[in-house]
C-alpha cells in the first residue's frame, strides 16, 4: 500500500513539474511583453534583465493614448471587426437555417463548397482582391476590408450555426407554422431568441478573426486613417527607431479585446471550436 502511495505522489510531482515547465514556455514570453511595456526604453536590453525595473512607469501607454494616429488604428479595428461580426452572423444565420430546416437539391454540394472555401489560401485571393477592390472603388475603405474579411468568417459561422440549429427540436418551429406563420417568422420569433448562446460563440470567434487579420489589411489599405491594429503594431516597428516599450504597450492594448472575449466566453467557445473537429 505504501508503495502505491509513493508512486502516486511521485507521479503527481512529475505531472506538476511538467505542467510548470510547459507553463513557463507558454507564459514567460507573454510576461516579458507585459514587463517591457512598463520599462523606459533604455532599460529594455538592460543586462542582467529585470522583470520590474527602476524606471517602471505607464509612459508607454500614455504615449499610445496621446497619439491620435495610434488611437485611429483601434477605432478602425473596432469598426471593421464589429461590422464583420454583425454581417457574418446575419448572413450565416440565414444560410444555417436553410441547411438545418430544409432539404433541397444540391444541398450537399453547396455545403461542400462552403467547407472547401476555408482551405483556399489568402495569398491566392489577395492578388485578385487587389484588382477587384480597386476596380470597385473600395481600395482603402472600410467596406473593402469588411467584405474581404467575411470570406474567412462566413464558412465557419455557417457550419457552427447549422450545427447549433440542428440541436434545437424542429417541433419548435413547426408550432409557428401550425398557427399560419412562415419559416421567416419561425426563424426570428422562435429560433433566434433561443440561439443567443450559440450566436455569441460564433460572434466572438468572428470578431477575433477579423480583429487579427493582417494580409488583407496590409494590401487593401494605404493611409494611416484606414489601418488596423495589427498593421499599426508593425508600423511602430519601422517608424520609431525601435521604441520597444511602446510596441509592447500597443501589443497589450491590441490584445485586450480578444483576451477579454476569450476569458468571458471560454467554456462555450472551446466547446464550439472543438465540436466540429473532434466529433468522431
Amino acid at each position: 500500500m505504501a508503495t502505491m502511495k509513493t508512486r502516486r505522489t511521485l507521479a503527481k510531482a512529475g505531472v506538476i513539474t511538467g505542467l510548470v515547465l510547459g507553463g513557463l514556455f507558454a507564459g514567460l514570453p507573454v510576461l516579458w511583453m507585459l514587463s517591457t511595456s512598463f520599462k523606459n526604453n533604455g532599460e529594455v536590453f538592460q543586462n542582467p534583465p529585470r522583470l520590474i525595473t527602476k524606471g517602471f512607469s505607464l509612459d508607454a501607454y500614455r504615449e499610445i493614448f496621446g497619439n491620435a494616429t495610434q488611437l485611429r488604428f483601434f477605432l478602425n479595428s473596432y469598426i471593421v471587426a464589429f461590422s464583420v461580426t454583425i454581417l457574418t452572423l446575419l448572413v450565416a444565420l440565414l444560410a444555417g437555417f436553410a441547411f438545418s430546416r430544409f432539404t433541397f437539391p444540391l444541398q450537399k454540394t453547396i455545403n461542400a463548397v462552403i467547407v472547401s472555401v476555408q482551405a483556399v489560401p489568402p495569398i491566392t485571393l489577395v492578388i485578385p482582391y487587389f484588382g477587384l477592390v480597386v476596380a470597385l472603388g473600395l481600395y482603402n475603405t472600410y467596406p473593402g476590408l469588411i467584405l474581404t474579411h467575411m470570406v474567412f468568417t462566413l464558412p465557419y459561422a455557417i457550419i457552427m450555426i447549422t450545427a447549433y440549429l440542428n440541436t434545437l427540436p424542429r417541433e419548435l418551429d413547426e408550432s409557428v407554422k401550425v398557427d399560419g406563420g412562415t419559416s421567416w417568422t419561425a426563424l426570428w420569433r422562435i429560433l433566434v431568441p433561443i440561439s443567443v448562446p450559440g450566436l455569441i460563440a460564433v460572434g466572438v470567434y468572428t470578431f477575433m478573426i477579423s480583429w487579427n487579420e493582417y494580409l488583407f489589411a496590409l494590401t487593401l489599405t494605404r493611409t494611416d486613417d484606414m489601418r488596423t491594429v495589427p498593421i499599426g503594431i508593425q508600423l511602430l516597428m519601422g517608424q520609431h527607431s525601435y521604441e520597444w516599450n511602446q510596441m509592447m504597450a500597443m501589443s497589450i492594448l491590441g490584445s485586450i479585446p480578444v483576451l477579454v472575449l476569450f476569458l468571458l466566453f471560454q467554456k462555450r467557445f472551446i466547446g464550439g471550436l472543438t465540436a466540429g473537429a473532434v466529433k468522431a
Partner: protein, 311 residues
C-alpha cells in the same frame, strides 16, 4: 489564428415528411435563405479564383491595361526561379517541423491537463496559461519574439548564462539559423489549437477502456500506446492535415519577423508570391505562383476531405 475549421454540416437527423406537393415558390425558399451567402461566395471566391487563373496566363495585368495572352510563360518563369524553389523547400521544412512539434507538444500538454491527479481549478488555471500564445495576433507574436530573440535579448542572456553560447546570436538575422527561429516561433504560437482538440478527444475516451487495460496489468506506456493513441488517431490525422494547410498559409509571421530573408533563408511560398505582386509589381508572375500554391493546398485538402469521409 486561422479560420479553417474541421466540420461537416450534417443534414438534420430527422427529416420532416415532405408535403405532398410543393409549389415552385416553396421549393425556392431555401435558396432564398442561401442567396446572400451565394452572392458573397461568387464575388469573394469564384470570381477572384477565375481572375487569378486568368492573370496567370497573361502578361501586363492589374498595373497596366494592355494585358496580352502569355501562355505558360509565367509558370515557366516561376518554376525555373531559384528563389521559388528555395521557397518550396523552406515551406516544406517549416510546415512539417511545425506540425510534428505542434502534435508532440499539444499531445503532451493535453495529457498533463487531463491528469486525474490534480484538481479542477489547478488544471483550469494551467489551461488558460497554455492557451495564451494562441490568443495573440501574429503581429504581436512577431514583436514579442523579435524582442526576445534580439542579439542582446533575454533568450541570448539565458543561453549565455547557461554557457550554451559564447556571445549574442542574431537568431532572425543569421541565414543559417533564421529558418529554425521562425519555425520555433510558429511552434510556440500554434500548438494550443492542437492541444484544445486533443484535450477534447482525450475527454471523449471512455474510462472503462482504461479500467479494462488496468485490470490486464498494463503499465502507463502500454495504455498510452494501445488505448490513447488508437482512440485519438482520427483527431490526430485530421488536425495534422489541417495544420499543414494552415502553416503553409502563414504569411504574417514570416513577413513581420524576417520578411523572408536573410538571403531568402526564410522565403516561403506566401512571401515569395507577395513580393512578386506587391514589391515587384509582377502581378502575372505572382498569379502563377498563387495558382501553384492553390493547387498544392488542394492536394492537402483532398486528403483532409477523404479522411473526414472515412470517419
Amino acid at each position: 489564428m486561422s479560420s479553417l475549421i474541421a466540420s461537416q454540416v450534417a443534414p438534420p437527423v430527422e427529416q420532416a415528411a415532405p408535403p405532398k406537393r410543393k409549389t415552385l415558390a416553396r421549393r425556392l425558399i431555401p435558396y432564398g435563405y442561401l442567396s446572400p451567402t451565394a452572392i458573397l461566395i461568387v464575388v469573394l471566391m469564384v470570381i477572384p479564383i477565375a481572375m487569378v487563373i486568368s492573370y496567370s496566363f497573361r502578361d501586363n495585368v492589374i498595373v497596366q491595361d494592355n494585358s496580352v495572352f502569355a501562355g505558360l510563360a509565367n509558370y515557366t518563369k516561376v518554376l525555373t526561379d531559384a528563389d521559388f524553389l528555395t521557397a518550396i523547400k523552406n515551406t516544406a521544412v517549416f510546415i512539417s517541423v511545425s506540425t510534428v512539434a505542434h502534435l508532440v507538444l499539444g499531445l503532451a500538454f493535453a495529457m498533463m491537463l487531463n491528469t486525474p491527479l490534480l484538481g479542477g481549478v489547478t488544471k483550469a488555471i494551467f489551461r488558460i496559461v497554455y492557451i495564451l500564445p494562441w490568443l495573440f495576433t501574429i503581429a504581436v507574436i512577431a514583436v514579442i519574439w523579435r524582442l526576445l530573440l534580439d542579439p542582446s535579448g533575454v533568450v541570448n542572456y539565458v543561453l549565455h548564462a547557461f554557457g550554451a553560447i559564447q556571445q549574442g546570436v542574431n537568431w532572425l538575422g543569421d541565414p543559417g539559423k533564421a529558418l529554425w527561429a521562425v519555425t520555433f516561433i510558429n511552434i510556440w504560437s500554434g500548438y494550443p489549437f492542437f492541444m484544445i482538440s486533443l484535450l477534447a478527444g482525450l475527454q471523449g475516451i471512455p474510462g472503462d477502456l482504461y479500467e479494462a487495460a488496468a485490470v490486464d496489468g498494463t503499465n502507463w506506456f502500454q495504455r498510452f500506446r494501445h488505448v490513447t493513441l488508437p482512440q485519438l488517431r482520427p483527431v490526430i490525422i485530421s488536425m495534422a492535415v489541417l495544420d499543414l494547410i494552415w502553416t503553409s498559409q502563414q504569411f504574417a509571421l514570416i513577413w513581420m519577423t524576417t520578411g523572408g530573408g536573410p538571403l531568402h533563408a526564410t522565403e516561403m511560398l506566401s512571401t515569395y508570391t507577395y513580393k512578386q505582386a506587391f514589391s515587384e509589381y509582377e502581378f502575372a508572375t505572382a498569379s502563377a505562383a498563387a495558382v501553384i500554391v492553390l493547387l498544392l493546398t488542394m492536394v492537402l485538402a483532398f486528403f483532409y476531405v477523404r479522411q473526414q469521409r472515412e470517419r
